[in-house]
């Protein structure tokens, strides 16, 4: 075994969120209620019994937020290369192909323009089901293009994060997506446009350490894990029992790191309000 001080300092990890015990994805991990797909969708994928927020895939999220028919996708054709010819237990190329088949997405982020309650904005929405929402070259590039589209149109950018962090399989280039997206936010801000950042479960590692934290306004969904290092890594390093709400949105609010926790039914009107406030750049 290697020393703890070596292993545990890494911040990127796929398993950041304690995965709910592998029941049916429509079974509430908090109260055990089970829902049909259409029931859950009608409730915006929030448990009608206990309020648990189920994960939302990128396209479903866009449906929930954007005015019907307003979303125009951009850069849908971007695909990851495999610059390191990366092979762990399986080839990165294979993982990518599998993720694309499973999700119907080219990578872990979907971008495009839309309106929310008639307020124009650019959207950049992550999808945790594509390789844990990890950020590699494509996600970084899509984010940068979303910033550029927003700046060109003079409208705010709304991001919904759901990610375990940087994509290890792209090595140092994945890490470079942190400064890349940070530079893109700076350019966006200089053009006078706002970044409204919504953090869904989970927003960890490289996401929290780059654009997701740089919003003019930071919103979080209830119960979302928002930590730089994941609970497992922190527990291993410090050998301490973690607080029950370690890294959760609620703890982050208390410690001053987010502006508000917004329940999903209020997310669309809240974003609309913020777009009215920040919209005229």
């Amino acid at each position: 075994m290697v020393e703890a001080s070596r292993i545990d300092v890494s911040i990127e990890h796929k398993h950041a969120p304690e995965p709910p015990p592998k029941k049916h994805p429509n079974t509430c991990p908090t109260c055990g209620s089970h829902f049909r797909d259409d029931e859950l969708d009608a409730a915006l994928r929030v448990c009608t019994h206990c309020g648990h927020h189920f994960p939302v895939k990128a396209r479903k999220r866009i449906e929930q937020l954007a005015d019907r028919g307003s979303f125009v996708e951009e850069a849908a054709d971007l695909r990851s290369a495999d610059p390191l010819d990366f092979f762990d237990l399986r080839a990165y190329k294979e993982r990518l192909a599998e993720a694309e088949i499973a999700t119907g997405l080219g990578d872990a982020m979907v971008i495009g323009s839309a309106t929310i309650e008639e307020q124009p904005c650019e959207l950049a929405v992550m999808d945790f089901s594509f390789m844990g929402g990890s950020m590699g070259s494509v996600t970084g590039e899509k984010f940068a293009r979303a910033c550029e589209s927003a700046a060109a149109a003079g409208m705010p950018l709304v991001t919904i994060s759901a990610s375990g962090g940087a994509r290890m399989q792209e090595g140092i280039l994945a890490l470079m997506q942190l400064p890349k997206t940070v530079c893109a936010v700076e350019e966006l801000h200089e053009s006078g446009c706002a970044l409204l950042s919504v953090m869904a479960h989970p927003t960890t590692g490289g996401l929290l350490a780059s654009f997701a934290s740089l919003g003019d306004v930071l919103l979080a969904e209830p119960g979302a894990l928002m930590s730089f290092a994941g609970p497992r890594v922190v527990a291993q390093t410090t050998r301490e029992k973690l607080p029950d709400d370690f890294g959760l949105a609620e703890s982050n609010l208390r410690f001053g790191h987010v502006d508000a926790i917004v329940r999903r039914p209020e997310l669309r009107p809240t974003l609309a309000r913020l777009l009215r406030l920040f919209g005229e750049s």
Partner: protein, 310 residues
């Protein structure tokens, strides 16, 4: 891929040869060094060579930030504290004269003996460390001092308090401050360039790596534990994600490699410092020729272009 890197290096070589601002001795040293780098890239490093870099980057006699400061800076004055909560000893900051120029410096600092290691938290900074860094960057900006950063950390500290104090946000904001600076900035990875904790202070106009430094998205052990489900597979992991300087140069992540004494920087702190000092001074000389208005735009464009698409 090697072709791109070759082209980059050859391009740089030809530019340097035609450049008369670089001082004689150093220019030939630079040429020599780039030629060596070129040779090295033409011969792709083996898995064993990569692992030996990891070991050298972590060598316990390797010079740390303050070892370089002591040898390179005149009138050094260390600045302390984040003006909010504390003074993080894992990250040092200050100002001093580097070859006659007042320069602000920010760098991770590991400890040499057991007590200092613990005091320096093995070079793993808390958000307080990054807030101190931002504060000193703003002093640099205000007074037009160029900024040098020395990166040497296994990663930002993963602890409960660190999270509660906003580790992720601090790393993001430190990068944002660097993206905003109008002064010239040079970063050098001098040991371990571990993940977000490293890149927090490495969003620079010129990013250098010492010959035996590593720069990576995750530690080899962390990567092995997750992808191989066995931390013991760290050599395999390192070979797979290639954290060595040659590969970082190839991938366009860094702008140059700083040579070390034969056997590694730990073999002679003085010689390692001389080589680092020359590289920093050259980098600042070059950046001085960039019109101030362009500097920041170029920096952002450089990072904007990073990544490889299919």
């Amino acid at each position: 891929m090697a072709n791109d890197a070759e082209i980059r290096l050859r391009d740089r070589l030809s530019k340097l040869s035609g450049l008369d601002l670089l001082r004689g001795a150093r220019l030939s040293g630079e040429l020599e060094r780039l030629k060596r780098q070129l040779d090295r890239i033409e011969a792709d490093p083996t898995d064993e060579e990569i692992w030996s870099k990891v070991e050298l980057a972590r060598h316990e006699e390797r010079p740390y930030t303050l070892d370089y400061v002591e040898r390179l800076f005149e009138d050094w004055f260390e600045l302390h504290g984040d003006r909010g909560r504390g003074d993080d000893a894992a990250l040092v900051a200050g100002i001093g004269k580097l070859e006659g120029r007042t320069v602000a410096l920010v760098g991770h600092q590991k400890g040499r003996d057991i007590k200092e290691r613990s005091n320096r938290n093995f070079g793993m900074a808390y958000p307080e460390g990054y807030r101190k860094a931002m504060r000193v960057m703003e002093i640099a900006e205000r007074h037009g001092f160029p900024l040098a950063t020395l990166v040497d950390t296994p990663g930002a500290y993963p602890g409960v308090a660190a999270e509660q104090h906003g580790q992720g946000g601090a790393i993001a904001r430190s990068q944002a401050v660097m993206a905003r600076l109008k002064v010239p900035t040079v970063a050098c990875i001098i040991g371990e360039g571990g993940s977000g904790g490293a890149v927090a202070i490495a969003l620079a106009d010129t990013v250098l790596m010492q010959e035996n430094a590593i720069y990576s998205v995750i530690s080899p052990e962390g990567c092995a534990a997750i992808l191989w489900r066995d931390a013991g597979e760290r050599q395999k992991a390192a070979a797979a994600f290639k954290p060595d300087a040659a590969h970082c140069l190839e991938l366009g992540v860094i702008d140059g490699i700083v040579p070390e004494p034969v056997g590694g920087a730990h073999e002679s702190h003085d010689e390692a410092a001389r080589l680092l000092g020359a590289a920093l001074a050259d980098a600042f000389d070059e950046l001085e020729n960039v019109p101030q208005a362009e500097l920041r735009a170029r920096r952002r464009q450089k990072f904007r272009a990073m990544g490889v698409l299919a």
